[in-house]
């Protein structure tokens, strides 16, 4: 049932990749990509996470059940963020009430 024994070289190679990606993500922060900076940072973080999960945590050779559980965890987190964000992003679709929203200044007798 145990995982196959992975050669040390693989682990060291993965570690070097992770270092490379860390340097890359830091470097990218010094280049102006606009909104794409955030995207780049997240994509690199996802890549790093995948490396850690697949190799260090051994998911590459683990059972389907573990994979399903892992995916479920991320999926639930995505649900939490997505549904909460739905509220925030659609609040301005309808007129947002203001102190006196009709625009007509208060008339006085």
């Amino acid at each position: 049932m145990s995982h196959p024994i992975v050669p040390q070289k693989t682990y060291i190679l993965v570690f070097l990749c992770l270092i490379g990606l860390t340097i890359l993500t830091t470097g990218v922060a010094f280049i102006d990509l606009g909104a794409f900076n955030t995207v780049a940072a997240l994509v690199i973080a996802f890549a790093k996470m995948s490396l850690v999960i697949l190799f260090f945590m051994g998911v590459r050779s683990s059972s389907g059940l573990v994979r399903i559980i892992l995916i479920a965890g991320f999926f639930w987190f995505a649900l939490l963020v997505a549904f909460t964000m739905t509220d925030y992003h659609t609040r301005t679709w309808t007129p947002v009430p203001q102190a006196w929203s009709s625009g007509a200044p208060p008339t006085h007798p």
């Binding site: 479920a72 649900l79 549904f83 909460t84 739905t86 509220d87 659609t90 609040r91 679709w93 309808t94």
Partner: protein, 542 residues
């Protein structure tokens, strides 16, 4: 600890109750059955505490200006009633008591996968309970069990931190229980027990555990952020400093709505077992009932926004949450239809557990259907925050979860204690509880529709008649709850000895002695047939 003093029966075979004596053998036990009893005693204690707060509230509300206490005190009563009943009674009730006792027996294992974690979860629960009780003694807390910000974080000067710690801590007990069940059901089923041979109680415990594991951590972190905000006033949820109070509500209900399913799904599992046994029928549409449990657990996570239709949440988010809330009603309806159909051409007897199960179906049906009023946007605008909501969730949580819990306790009591209780008294109690419950909570539907808001310490005089009716019903209900407490305690000493399978039920837990030995089974059983083999072949399953 009262069970620890059970008189040793001289001729009784060795079982988990007489395997060892002394308080240490209980407080340091790793036996899931003993831990279940520790939980049974503690949740009963919290039920009595929470229940006495409810009694005080109902007495107070017999007069429009309030008959008993100051408004501040009333606010503390309903807050602690909610916190204790939800976090310290309902959520642990069926999973931690019946689930702990039965899951290993039902899967045919010697114990849960992680007995030490199981004991740890009880201690965590007790520590959380201590913080909550401390807060009650040290002046109480008045935020409502929902802890809405900024009231809880900035304006309330009661024991918010202590209760927050209590709820935070006890959440981990729930997480550990859920984790233990998931692993046990996945990895410790005995030979032959495939997923679709499992009793439906196991399916419902599995679905419940999923919610515990996926939802509870979010509550924990939310309460953590709330405590930070309460202590430092830094603006996480405080609008004066740029925070958004609705974010708290989102995060809070992400757990706290599914928490309702933590309460009701196990009760559904119990009811499936009872109905099958007392009508001697396989559950109609077994696999559909099993899948509907999982469907409820999953869909239940996506409906939390229906608590926020009038809070200034976007109307489009409201639309999505409304639709999903309607969808989650469908698997529940399917379950009710299947239970009813199970009775068809059965051989039905009316022992106490069956009466509770029937009561469950009736009350849950009404609780579920009145949920439609609150899932529907236009009517929710009127009913949100009124007594209608109070009535609705009591039909689900008390009419549903507590009836299921009591049904389960009565069903498995011979297995747990090795003794039988007087069936006549049990039947009388079941009927009194059913009547008392309806008298208490049905008037509250009308009160809510008439517009009486919840959490009011005093109210306009025109609502008095219905409030008095409700309080009168609560008296009946209170008496109804005390009767089982008395005869069950009585039965532990004086009840007739129970045989291994007094109801003629299927299921592995009935194949071993009553009470079971510490190791549960002399030999790990092998399952060769489906659950609920009550058919005429005189199955060898039990």
């Amino acid at each position: 600890m009262s069970t620890a003093t059970l008189e040793p029966r001289v001729h009784a075979p060795r079982n988990y109750l007489n395997a060892d004596y002394g308080w240490k053998s209980w407080l340091f036990t790793l036996d899931h059955k003993r831990i279940a009893l520790l939980y049974l005693i503690s949740v009963t204690f919290f039920f009595l505490v929470g229940g006495s707060f409810a009694v005080l509230m109902r007495i107070h509300l017999t007069e429009p200006q309030g008959a008993l206490v100051q408004p501040e005190t009333y606010n503390k009563l309903f807050t602690l009633h909610g916190v204790i009943m939800i976090f310290f009674f309902l959520i642990p009730s069926i999973p931690a008591v019946l689930g702990n006792f039965l899951v290993p027996l039902m899967v045919g294992a010697r114990d849960l996968a992680f007995p030490k974690l199981n004991l740890l979860s009880w201690y965590i629960y007790i520590v959380g309970g201590m913080f909550t009780l401390y807060s009650a003694i040290a002046g109480g807390v008045d935020t409502g069990w929902t802890f809405y910000t900024p009231y809880s974080s900035t304006y309330s000067n009661t024991q918010v931190t202590a209760v927050a710690i209590g709820v935070f801590v006890t959440g981990f007990s729930s997480i550990l229980t859920g984790l233990n069940f998931i692993v046990t059901i996945h990895k410790m089923r005995c030979p032959g027990l495939t997923w679709f041979r499992m009793p439906l109680f196991l399916w419902s415990m599995y679905a419940t555990s999923l919610i515990m594991v996926l939802g509870t951590p979010v509550l924990a972190i939310t309460i953590f952020l709330l405590a930070l905000e309460h202590l430092f006033h830094v603006g996480i949820f405080s609008p004066a400093l740029g925070g958004d109070p609705l974010l708290f509500q989102h995060l809070f209900w992400f757990y706290s709505h599914p928490a309702v399913y933590i309460m009701i799904l196990p009760a559904m599992g119990v009811v499936s077992e009872i109905i099958a046994c007392f009508s001697r029928k396989r559950i109609f549409g077994y696999s559909i009932v099993a899948f509907s449990s999982v469907a409820i657990a999953v869909l239940g996570f996506l409906v939390w926004g229906h608590h926020m239709f009038v809070t200034g949440q976007s109307v489009f988010a409201g639309l999505i949450f409304s639709l999903l809330s309607f969808l989650v009603a469908i698997p529940s309806a399917i379950k009710v239809f299947n239970w009813t159909a199970t009775l068809y051409k059965g051989s039905i007897s009316y022992e106490a557990p069956m009466l509770y199960a029937m009561g469950f179906i009736g009350l849950f049906t009404m609780g579920g259907l009145t949920g439609l009023f609150l899932a529907s946007l236009a009517t929710d605008v009127h009913l949100n925050g009124t007594y209608f909501v109070v009535a609705h969730f009591h039909y689900i949580m008390v009419g549903g979860a507590v009836m299921g819990y009591l049904g389960g306790i009565h069903f498995w009591w011979p297995k747990i204690s090795g003794r039988k209780y007087p069936d006549m008294w049990a039947g009388i109690a079941a009927v009194i509880i059913f009547i008392g419950f309806n008298l208490t909570f049905f008037p509250q539907f009308i009160l809510g529709y008439l517009g009486m808001p919840r959490r009011y310490a005093f109210y306009p005089a025109e609502f008095q008649v219905l409030n008095v009716m409700s309080s009168a019903g609560a008296t009946v209900l209170g008496v109804g709850y005390l009767i089982p407490l008395i005869y069950l305690i009585w039965s532990m000493r004086y009840g007739p000895i129970a045989e291994p399978n007094p109801w003629g039920a299927t299921g592995l837990e009935w194949t071993t002695a009553s009470p079971p030995p510490t190791e549960n089974f002399a030999e790990i059983p092998v399952v060769t047939e489906e659950a609920y083999a009550y058919g005429p072949k005189e199955g060898s399953g039990d």
